[in-house]
C-alpha cells in the first residue's frame, strides 16, 4: 500500500510541476466561470423552471469544456514515461504493474477533483449575493458532483488506455479525444436520428451522459448509471493493465 501511495503522490505532484496543469486549470475555470455568469444572467431575465445549479451542469459550455479536459489530463500519464525512458527505472523497482496503473489513474482523478473544487465557490457566492440557494435541494449538489465523479472516472480511464498504447502524447490525446467525443455523441443519437426504432433510441439513451447529468443534477440518484460507469471504468482499467503488461512481449 505504501508503494501505491508513493506512486500516487508522485503522479499528483508531477501534475502541479507541469505547465499543462495550470493551463488546463485556468482554461477550465475561465470557461466554467463565464458559463456560470451567462446562466445566472439568463435566468435573471425570465422565470425559469430549473435551478441555477441545474442549468450550469447542462449547458453547452459545460459539455464543451468537459470533453476537452480529459485528453489534456491523461495524455502524458504513460506516454511520457515511455518517451523519456523513465519506465525503465520505474518498472525495475519492486512495484507491480497494477500498482502503477492504479496510481496513474487515481493521480489523474485527484487532479480532476482539484479542477472541480473551485466551482463549489460559484454556488456559495450565488447564495451570499442573492440570499437564495443555487439549487432546490442538497441532493442536487450531491447528485451533480457524484455524476461529475462517475463520468470523470470513466473518461479518465479511457484516457489512461489511450496513453498506454503510444509513446506520443499528442497521439494519446487524439485517441482519447475521439473516443470520448464518439461516446458522448452516442448519447445524442436519440435526439438526432429520428428514423431509428424507439427501442434503439431508448437503448442509446441509457448511455447518454447528458441524460444522466440531467437527472442527477435535479437530485435524482438513479443507480443504473452508477453501475454503468463504475463497471466501464473497471473494464477500461483492466484493458489498460493488459496493454501495459504487453510492453514486455512486444518488441
Amino acid at each position: 500500500m505504501r508503494k501505491f501511495y508513493t506512486l500516487l503522490a508522485r503522479e499528483v505532484r508531477s501534475y502541479f510541476h507541469s505547465p499543462i496543469a495550470y493551463v488546463v486549470l485556468v482554461f477550465f475555470l475561465l470557461v466554467s466561470g463565464v458559463d456560470f455568469y451567462f446562466q445566472v444572467s439568463f435566468m435573471n431575465q425570465r422565470p425559469a423552471s430549473y435551478s441555477v445549479q441545474e442549468a450550469f451542469f447542462n449547458s453547452v459550455f459545460f459539455w464543451f469544456a468537459f470533453v476537452l479536459i480529459f485528453p489534456l489530463i491523461t495524455m502524458r500519464l504513460f506516454a511520457e514515461e515511455f518517451k523519456l525512458g523513465t519506465i525503465e527505472p520505474l518498472m525495475t523497482a519492486p512495484v507491480r504493474d497494477s500498482q502503477v496503473v492504479l496510481a496513474k489513474f487515481f493521480g489523474a482523478l485527484v487532479f480532476y477533483i482539484a479542477l472541480w473544487l473551485p466551482t463549489l465557490l460559484y454556488f456559495a457566492i450565488f447564495q451570499k449575493i442573492t440570499h437564495q440557494p443555487a439549487a432546490n435541494s442538497t441532493g442536487a449538489y450531491w447528485g451533480s458532483y457524484l455524476m461529475l465523479l462517475l463520468l470523470g472516472m470513466f473518461y479518465l480511464s479511457i484516457g489512461c488506455l489511450a496513453s498506454v498504447v503510444t509513446k506520443n502524447q499528442i497521439v494519446a490525446a487524439i485517441i482519447a479525444f475521439c473516443a470520448i467525443t464518439l461516446l458522448f455523441f452516442l448519447g445524442l443519437v436519440q435526439f438526432i436520428l429520428l428514423d431509428v426504432s424507439s427501442r434503439m433510441r431508448d437503448a442509446l439513451g441509457y448511455f447518454s451522459a447528458i441524460e444522466h447529468m440531467g437527472t442527477y443534477s435535479r437530485g435524482i440518484i438513479d443507480t443504473r448509471p452508477i453501475v454503468l460507469y463504475l463497471s466501464m471504468t473497471g473494464l477500461m482499467l483492466a484493458l489498460t493493465y493488459q496493454a501495459f503488461q504487453s510492453r514486455k512481449w512486444r518488441v
Partner: protein, 315 residues
C-alpha cells in the same frame, strides 16, 4: 548471486542474445564487455526484470527474475543506460521517492538518501531540478538511485558513458569501493575500465559469450600477446632482418624517425626477447635509445575475439 542458464532473447527477426550461460558470485565485480549491439543491454534488462527472455532462465539471489520478479527486483539496484530521470523533480525529492518505492523503511529514508548523496557527491546539487543537471551529475543521481536501498546486487549499464576523464576516474573509484560490499555487474565498451575495476570479464559478441575469465587469464590466453618496441641507430644494418632471426619474434614493422629506426615487434606470448635484442645490439654496435615491452591489453583480447569471429563469418 546471478545465475543465467541458456538465456535467449529474440526480437522480431533477430536474435539479440543466444544461449547465454554464466554465474556471478557474491562480492564479484563482473565486467560485461562487447561492441555496441552485442546484447549487453538486453541481458541486463532481462536480469533487472524489465523484459522477459524468450527462453532460458535467470535468477538473482535464488529468485527467478521472471517468476519471482518482485523479490528479485527488491534485491538489486539497476542503473539503465543513459539514465532516464524525471526532469521535473529535485534531486533529494527524487531519491526520497525512489527510496520509498524500493521499500526502504520510512524512518531510514532520510538517512539512506543522505548517505548516497554523500557517497555520490550530490550534496551541492541536492536542491536542483534534475532537468538542469549536467550529464555527469545525472549519472551520479542514477548511481545514487541504484544504491539507495542497499541492494545486494548492482547492475550498471555503461556507468561512465558520456563523462569527462575526471568524472570517469571518480565513478571508477566509487565502483571499486562499492565492490567491497556489493556484487556488481557492469557493462562498458571502454576496455581500460574493465581492466582496472573488474575481477572477472565476460566478452559478449553478436549475442554469444566469447570468453569469460579474469582479466589476467584472458591476457594469458591470447596468441599474439605482447610486443616489443626497439628504437635504435643501426648504421649500415637493415635492423629488421637481424631482429627477425631472434627466436620468438613473429613480425617486425619498421618506422623511421630522422636517423632513428623504430621497430615494433610482435612476439610469441610468454617470451621475453629483450635480453636477446640487447646482445644483438651490442654485437652489431647499434645505438639503443629505447627497448621496451608493451603489455597486451584487453583491447588485444577484444580485437582478437571479435575479429576472428568476423573472419569466420566471412569465410
Amino acid at each position: 548471486m546471478i545465475k543465467v542458464e541458456s538465456l535467449t532473447k529474440r526480437y522480431a527477426g533477430q536474435t539479440a542474445i543466444r544461449d547465454l550461460n554464466f554465474e556471478v558470485g557474491q562480492g564479484e565485480i563482473m565486467g560485461f564487455l562487447g561492441p555496441n549491439g552485442a546484447g549487453k543491454t538486453t541481458t541486463m534488462r532481462i536480469l533487472a526484470g524489465f523484459m522477459p527472455a524468450t527462453s532460458g532462465r535467470a535468477s538473482i539471489a535464488g529468485f527467478d527474475v521472471f517468476e519471482q520478479s518482485l523479490q528479485a527486483r527488491s534485491r538489486l539496484g539497476y542503473m539503465p543506460e543513459n539514465v532516464p530521470l524525471y526532469n521535473d523533480m529535485r534531486v533529494t525529492e527524487y531519491l526520497d521517492y525512489r527510496a520509498a518505492l524500493k521499500g526502504v523503511p520510512h524512518r531510514r529514508v532520510a538517512e539512506r538518501v543522505g548517505d548516497v548523496k554523500e557517497l555520490c557527491g550530490l550534496r551541492e546539487v541536492e536542491r536542483k531540478l534534475i532537468g538542469t543537471l549536467s550529464k555527469g551529475y545525472r549519472q551520479r543521481v542514477g548511481l545514487a538511485d541504484a544504491l539507495v536501498n542497499e541492494p545486494e546486487l548492482l547492475i550498471l549499464d555503461e556507468p561512465t558513458i558520456g563523462l569527462d576523464p575526471n568524472q570517469i576516474r571518480q565513478v571508477r573509484e566509487l565502483i571499486k569501493n562499492l565492490g567491497k560490499q556489493h556484487t556488481i555487474l557492469l557493462s562498458t565498451h571502454i576496455l581500460p575500465e574493465v581492466e582496472m575495476t573488474c575481477s572477472r570479464v565476460i566478452i559478449i559478441h553478436k549475442g554469444r559469450i566469447e570468453a569469460c575469465d579474469t582479466p589476467d587469464n584472458l591476457l594469458g590466453q591470447i596468441r599474439q600477446a605482447g610486443g616489443v618496441v626497439v628504437e635504435a641507430k643501426t648504421g649500415n644494418d637493415d635492423g629488421a632482418e637481424e631482429l627477425k632471426k631472434i627466436s620468438g619474434v613473429r613480425e617486425v614493422m619498421t618506422d623511421q624517425d630522422n636517423d632513428w629506426k623504430i621497430f615494433s615487434l610482435r612476439v610469441e606470448s610468454g617470451l621475453d626477447v629483450r635480453e636477446e635484442i640487447f646482445r644483438l645490439a651490442a654485437a652489431r654496435k647499434w645505438t639503443l635509445r629505447e627497448l621496451s615491452q608493451r603489455r597486451a591489453t584487453l583491447e588485444d583480447v577484444f580485437v582478437e575475439i571479435t575479429h576472428s569471429d568476423e573472419a569466420e563469418m566471412s569465410s
